[in-house]
């Protein structure tokens, strides 16, 4: 009996070691808000990541190992993000981490990864500072494949001032880091066109009445409202305009594509325009297969991805990291980072084809030439300009010399 149990233990041990040698999974951390006002972005991003991981695992994983996701809900709270970062690094020992929707959470959390030399791929958070937080250090482990605010704000201004010809615009931004940093970028981009906003107003998360802000914009003679906020409050702005019987175009950061803006604003949200890196249209074979696979796996309401941009960028972020791990031949943080900064084989993603997306100095994969302007139409986001849609099958690739981005000052 004793022998039997010992033998069993020995076999079990051997089996355990054997399995570890053969296919110790690669752990990828995933941090994002899956609940709360940012959740339509967080959940879409998570689902995009899950889809990519399941595809990679089906075709044999990376380095012959399966990928295991360690998902954590950071609730869009800085302090939760910090706890999660420490847990993922010290307890779960992840090889890399993807995620972050909220700029504040990203800025608070990523210094732990930086210290632990674990690469982070920001796939949604847009704060300009994110990839430049550690510019003063020799090595930077923070990467991003989302369109940052220094691209988005000038795009919003370009759309409002140059393409639509508005002379007087008002800015409405929420009081969070995201809203206020975005407001600064908008003001800078407007100044480059020699325009000063006629009104700059603030609102708080959970505000239910926007009368004062909108009346000020209206009285100042604004022809358009430029926004920087998230879904629920943006919807209150649209509803407030309906109430005041004052309808001017809303043009703002990409959050105007969030499902909780579109659903809560209803008819008031129609016509809102925003920069998008991805629009849910099967314009290339890759995008088509992504959309079909996503809808099949997660079946979202009305076949509309809640936040198509987040889903696509989440999906791409995993493929970028998988390519880097493959090239590095290891899950060692510094080696993956080095591989990311010098990716030899192009990665065909949903947003774009990533051909040398990063260098040692440049950790942003998306440049100003990639996003297009989207518009809310019939409760979905579509291409605002037919020209963009016609040319959508030509994938726009990174152009480090693309004009239109603000220079980032730290």
């Amino acid at each position: 009996m004793r022998f039997a149990s010992r033998a069993l233990a020995a076999v079990a041990l051997a089996a355990g070691v054997g399995a570890a040698l053969a296919a110790d999974p690669v752990k990828i951390g995933l941090s994002g808000p899956f609940t709360g006002g940012s959740s339509s972005m967080g959940v879409s991003m998570r689902d995009g990541v899950r889809l990519a991981v399941s595809e990679i695992n089906k075709s044999g994983g990376v380095l012959g190992r399966q990928i295991v996701l360690v998902e954590r809900d950071d609730e869009a709270k800085n302090e939760r993000g910090v706890q999660i970062a420490q847990e993922l690094i010290n307890k779960e020992k992840v090889a890399v981490t993807v995620g972050f929707i909220n700029t504040g959470v990203a800025l608070a959390s990523q210094r732990f990864y930086q210290e632990a030399k674990i690469p982070v791929m920001n796939n949604v958070a847009t704060g300009s500072l994110i990839t430049h937080q550690f510019d003063d250090q020799a090595e930077n482990y923070i990467f991003r494949n989302a369109a940052h605010d220094s691209i988005q704000a000038p795009m919003v201004v370009e759309e409002a001032i140059t393409r639509r010809g508005f002379k007087k615009v008002a800015i409405l931004a929420d009081s969070t880091n995201y809203g206020q940093l975005g407001r600064e970028d908008l003001e800078k981009a407007l100044a480059l066109k020699g325009i000063k906003p006629v009104a700059v107003e603030k609102f708080n998360i959970k505000d239910v009445d926007m009368t004062a802000q909108l009346l000020k914009a209206k009285e100042a003679g604004a022809e358009a409202v430029l926004t920087y906020g998230i879904g629920p409050e943006l919807a209150q702005i649209a509803n407030g305009m309906t109430k005041l019987g004052w309808k001017v175009p809303m043009i703002g950061s990409w959050t105007l594509s969030m499902a909780n803006f579109i659903d809560n604003a209803g008819p008031g949200g129609e016509g809102a325009r925003m920069p998008q890196t991805f629009i849910q249209e099967p314009t290339t074979p890759k995008r088509q297969s992504f959309i079909i696979a996503y809808l099949k796996m997660f079946s979202p309401k009305n076949n509309r991805i809640d936040s198509p941009v987040s889903a696509a960028q989440g999906y791409d972020s995993v493929y970028l990291l998988a390519a880097a791990i493959k090239q590095a031949g290891s899950t060692d943080g510094p080696k993956i980072k080095a591989a990311l900064e010098d990716l030899k084989t192009p990665v065909e993603g949903v947003v774009t084809t990533y051909n040398h997306p990063f260098t040692a100095k440049d950790h942003d994969a998306i440049t100003a030439n990639i996003p297009v302007i989207g518009e809310v139409k019939g409760q979905r986001v579509v291409y605002a300009y037919p020209d963009d849609q016609k040319k959508a099958s030509e994938v726009r690739v990174k152009d480090p010399n693309a004009k239109g981005a603000l220079t980032i000052q730290k």
């Binding site: 603030k202 239910v208 009445d209 009368t211 109430k243 909780n260 209803g266």
Partner: protein
């Protein structure tokens, strides 16, 4: 002038939202000298239950209201039985504060698990296009909130003044021990007041939900603002609550417009501090002299 009218209208609508919630504070204070700090969460539960009835069961908005009120009654009675009664029994001065806050947090967590944490749209029972009135715009739903709030308060005032049960409520407030000696079941009266207070919160929830958004966190900010309204207006006066709400609402919208939207919450809170310093019973409250 037109602007001012619009600001005042929006302020009144906003203030009435605060007032209907604040009214719930006043109801329980009037019988037991205690407050349900989970008032904002009672409001949130009412709104979410209402939303489920409308969306999942396809009930008509107006038919749903009585059911939500019944839910409010049960929820309020539960809060009183679990949270407040034990504290009153041992004459604890502060026990009920902790327990009502704790219950509020529990309700919020339950709601997050049942309904998720996203903000949902509550379908409006009235047309969503604004009406024009004195050169300003107002939503039909805002009028309904004002009418509903005033109606509810009148109903409760009439009940308190005219009916024998109402007199029991007033008697319990005036002197709980004497009322008990007179044969009034004060325990039941207090339970009743909590049930009524949560009923009003649940009713307020479905009333304002089409204007605000509906979600597990909707109660937090509104509950706090309503508390300020209750202090400004006076916890002993139903009329004071309405006026307090209107004052705070108009203060917010006009400050937002004439001074800065960044400071719109400040004047209301400054007013709160002034009221507490000068007239602690509230602008319209009766100063009670407590003999020890």
């Amino acid at each position: 002038m037109q602007i001012l009218t619009q600001l005042v209208f929006s302020g009144i609508a906003l203030g009435m939202i605060y007032a209907v919630i604040a009214f719930g504070y006043q109801l329980t204070f009037a019988t037991s000298d205690t407050l349900n700090f989970g008032q904002g969460d009672a409001l949130m539960l009412g709104a979410l239950v209402g939303l489920t009835l409308v969306e999942k069961l396809g009930l008509n908005y107006w038919l749903m209201i009585p059911l939500v009120c019944v839910f409010g009654v049960l929820q309020g009675a539960l809060v009183e039985r679990i949270g407040v009664r034990p504290a009153l029994k041992i004459k604890s001065e502060f026990g009920w504060i902790m327990s009502t806050i704790a219950l509020g947090i529990i309700f919020k967590n339950v709601a997050e698990n049942v309904w998720g944490r996203d903000d949902l749209k509550f379908p409006s029972p009235l047309p969503e296009s604004p009406l024009h009135f004195l050169g300003a715009n107002i939503l039909p739903m805002e009028i309904l909130v004002v009418v509903g709030a005033v109606g509810m308060m009148l109903a409760v005032e009439v009940f308190n003044r005219r009916s024998i049960y109402g007199r029991a409520v007033v008697a319990t407030f005036n002197d709980r021990d004497a009322a008990k000696l007179m044969g009034i079941n004060t325990g039941l009266v207090i339970t009743f007041s909590y049930a009524l207070s949560s009923l009003s919160a649940a009713f307020a929830g479905v009333l304002i939900a089409p204007l605000t958004l509906t979600g597990a966190t909707m109660g937090a900010v509104l509950g706090l603002k309503a508390f300020a309204v209750a202090i400004i207006g006076g916890l002993t006066s139903g009329m004071g609550i309405i006026l307090g709400g209107v004052i705070l609402g108009i203060a917010e919208t006009t400050t937002g417009f004439y001074i800065s939207t960044g400071y719109k919450d400040v004047p209301g809170l400054v007013l709160l501090l002034i009221v507490l310093a000068v007239k602690p019973a509230g602008l319209f409250g009766k100063t009670a002299i407590k003999k020890v």
